[in-house]
């Protein structure tokens, strides 16, 4: 084994194809996309060198600012919802339902495997006011609350979008954190109980610090997923009303493929990459602190 791993040719044979695939599929397109940021034009008419013009345009573009703001807003709201609901579900599985949690876990996980378009259509119908009132509006009206058209304004559309994405993904985070909670030794929990820690105190001082690593992984997963949201927005609101629910991904897609401006589209994509990288680095910076040491 040592002779194989010490042989450079063997290493090249083992890693070469994978490295080549990675280079062609990931690195070349990334470099290509970065190259496009310095050009204007499209594949039909051809490209002309534009220097830093696209970056200057991005700096002054109100639509890009609005898309960036929406991306952050959505990322924070949905990540908080996903991880919080996932954590509550995991606590429910471990401390309340215990062995009988399998059925509930399966049911709550079910929306994760449903196609986004189907879920979006369901939520459109749930919150519709035309041509018929949806179930959500019927229920609200039953309680004496009248909302009107959820999709007519930015606020209503945002709420439905967040509700939908939290609902469809909380099962995944529930299972992920559940796996982390199972790693907490029973002896530790038992000792804490004997010392008088129950309920919220047990969670605050024992469960939360010991599940911090899995919680951190969940937050990184969630933030990166939500900053790159595309399909659920496209299917539920199509970025509207107007461009009120348009995230950077959708704005980038439209700029490149609908408006035929590949250079500016790539510049928006670069901004998104920087945002994802920055947020991940910030989270990892915080994660260096050992939460179990207070």
């Amino acid at each position: 084994m040592r002779s194989v791993l010490g042989d450079r040719r063997a290493i090249a044979v083992l890693l070469g194809p994978a490295l080549l695939v990675y280079t062609l599929v990931m690195l070349v397109p990334m470099g290509w996309s970065l190259g496009y940021t310095f050009f204007k034009g499209n594949v039909i008419e051809g490209f002309t060198f534009g220097g830093f013009g696209n970056f200057e345009k991005l700096w002054h573009d109100p639509q890009a600012h609005s898309a960036l703001w929406f991306t952050f807003k959505y990322g924070i709201a949905v990540s908080a919802g996903q991880v919080f609901c996932g954590y509550v579900l995991a606590l429910l599985y471990v401390f309340v339902l215990r062995r009988s949690s399998a059925v509930v876990r399966t049911l709550v996980f079910f929306p994760v495997i449903l196609p986004t378009v189907a879920v979006a259509l369901m939520f459109q119908k749930l919150f519709a006011v035309a041509p018929q009132n949806g179930l959500a509006n019927i229920a609200l009206e039953g309680l004496g609350l009248h909302h009107g058209d959820w999709f007519a304004g930015a606020g209503g559309s945002f709420i439905v979008l967040v509700l939908m994405d939290v609902w469809r993904s909380m099962g995944f985070y529930g299972v992920l954190i559940f796996a982390g909670l199972l790693d907490i030794p029973d002896e530790t929990l038992e000792s804490a109980r004997l010392d008088g820690a129950t309920g919220w105190r047990l969670i605050r001082h024992i469960v939360l610090p010991l599940s911090a690593p899995v919680l951190l992984s969940s937050i990184v997963f969630s933030i990166n997923g939500t900053l790159k949201v595309f399909d659920s927005v496209l299917a539920l609101t199509n970025g509207g009303p107007g461009s009120d629910t348009t995230p950077l991904t959708l704005y980038m897609f439209r700029t490149a493929f609908s408006y035929g401006d590949y250079g500016y589209g790539s510049t928006i994509a670069s901004l998104l990459t920087v945002v994802c990288l920055g947020v991940t680095l910030i989270i990892f910076r915080f994660s260096r602190r050992d939460l179990t040491k207070g």
Binding site: V25, F257, Y259, G260
Partner: protein, 432 residues
């Protein structure tokens, strides 16, 4: 030594296999005439008329052409057609026929890049040029600068109304915009939705804005914007957007207009739930279809967009278009494609009238059957129209078109002001 050679061979083989797989996956689908195996058509899924009629021709008058080169239709949601066309054009892989999309600018760009077939030359070479309606030729030339799309439809636009509802509520047919608003108020008071409108797609709402603009400022209102002589943010233009926003504010489009799609709007009108419906004559197919039209074809009337007091435009200046124009790929052209185009040009006009009750840009040679009265009304109106106008986004770039259509529902729900609506569109025009 032997081992080293084998290792090197394996490495070379693995690299070669991976590279060839990747290159074959990344390669574009470049099309040349000899590759054309089908008479392909990419079209938006909400346009049933062209699909149905071409399919019918493939089984009837053009059966021989269909046997030689089978018709193959691919449908896409309306918003995706332009994207797909651009991507395929970038790979030289355009289908034989493709919907010219939401904005004439894309077709002009494709034409400049040599991707669009010069149909005037082709149809003249095929000897069928005289089978095209001169009015359709003129309309296509106004939009694209030359004749390079198949005029599968030739439409006029206006307000279709429910005669029975007007009679039941004793409302006279409006001839001025103020009377139209007064009629809408009466209908709303009586519990009838005054206007059915597709706010989800937005364009049926922006066409009301252009209708008002043409009546207020005359038939050159939007050409002046395209030429840079006027801006949409000028007070007279904002006034038009404000007029339509006011219709929404008063609740004349019913509730949830932003959630209503095209089919639902048609259904609202054809089931008698709405009194009026601004739409093009391509809807004649549904109006003449007894299974869809529950109010009866005799109850459907047509009125042009009414005049605005003191305005420069008149009601006989009717918006006209070639419906959903379809371009032909220059790179996919073969003699078999020519046979299809020739057959379509000779037979589509009469078949469209007979089967769908809709008017096309082709001359109706042969048996058209007995035309429904509503179709005759449309034909008469087309004949009498001396000056036609375009639609709101006809001269806009793709981005301004999308901004206009996605912000139409917020305009009528009051989520954005008329001034903001026009500013957004004008900004995209300025930066386009």
């Amino acid at each position: 030594m032997h081992k080293t050679l084998r290792t090197r061979r394996i490495a070379l083989l693995a690299t070669a296999a991976t590279t060839s797989l990747l290159l074959s996956a990344c390669g574009g689908g470049s099309v040349s005439g000899s590759d054309v195996k089908a008479f392909t058509l990419t079209i938006n899924d909400d346009n049933h008329i062209v699909q149905q009629e071409l399919t019918a021709l493939g089984k009837g008058s053009c059966a021989a052409q269909n046997k030689a080169l089978p018709l193959k239709i691919q449908t896409l949601p309306i918003g995706n057609v332009d994207q797909k066309v651009q991507l395929l054009a970038g790979q030289n892989a355009l289908p034989v026929q493709f919907a010219a999309g939401g904005t004439p600018q894309l077709t002009k760009t494709l034409d400049k890049a040599g991707q669009v077939l010069d149909l005037e030359k082709t149809l003249k070479d095929l000897g069928v040029w005289n089978d095209i309606q001169p009015a359709a030729v003129k309309t296509v030339e106004n939009l694209y600068g030359k004749f390079n799309v198949m005029p599968y439809q030739f439409n006029i636009e206006g307000i279709w109304y429910n005669k029975k509802l007007f009679a039941d509520h004793r409302i006279a047919l409006p001839t001025t915009y103020d009377q139209l608003v007064a009629a809408a108020a009466k209908f709303k008071g009586a519990g009838v939705t005054p206007f059915a409108a597709d706010g989800k797609d937005g364009w049926p709402l922006t066409r009301l804005v252009s209708g008002y603009l043409y009546r207020e400022l005359g038939p050159d209102a939007l050409q002046a914007v395209a030429d840079g002589k006027a801006k949409l943010t000028d007070p007279a233009y904002v006034k038009a957007a404000q007029a339509i926003a006011d219709l929404g504010k008063a609740g004349y489009f019913g509730k949830g207009v932003g959630s209503i799609d095209y089919d639902t709007a048609v259904q609202q009108f054809l089931t008698g739930k709405a009194a009026m419906f601004y739409m093009g004559s391509w809807e004649l197919g549904d109006f003449n279809d007894k299974t869809k039209n529950r109010i009866g074809v005799d109850n459907v009337g047509f009125m042009p967009f009414p005049t605005v007091a003191g305005g420069k435009g008149s009601a006989d200046q009717i918006p006209a278009n070639v419906g959903l124009p379809v371009a032909v790929s220059a790179k996919s052209y073969t003699p078999k494609v020519g046979d299809w185009l020739s057959c379509i040009t000779k037979n589509y006009g009469a078949a469209s009238l007979k089967d769908q009750g809709t008017v096309s840009g082709f001359k109706p040679n042969g048996d058209t059957g007995t035309l429904p009265p509503l179709t005759r009304t449309v034909q008469d109106t087309i004949t009498k129209t001396s000056t036609s106008t375009l639609w709101f986004e006809a001269l806009f770039n793709t981005k301004a078109t999308e901004t206009s259509q996605t912000n139409a529902a917020p305009l009528v729900t009051g989520a954005i002001s008329a001034k903001d609506f026009m500013t957004k569109v004008q900004t995209d025009l300025d930066n386009g």
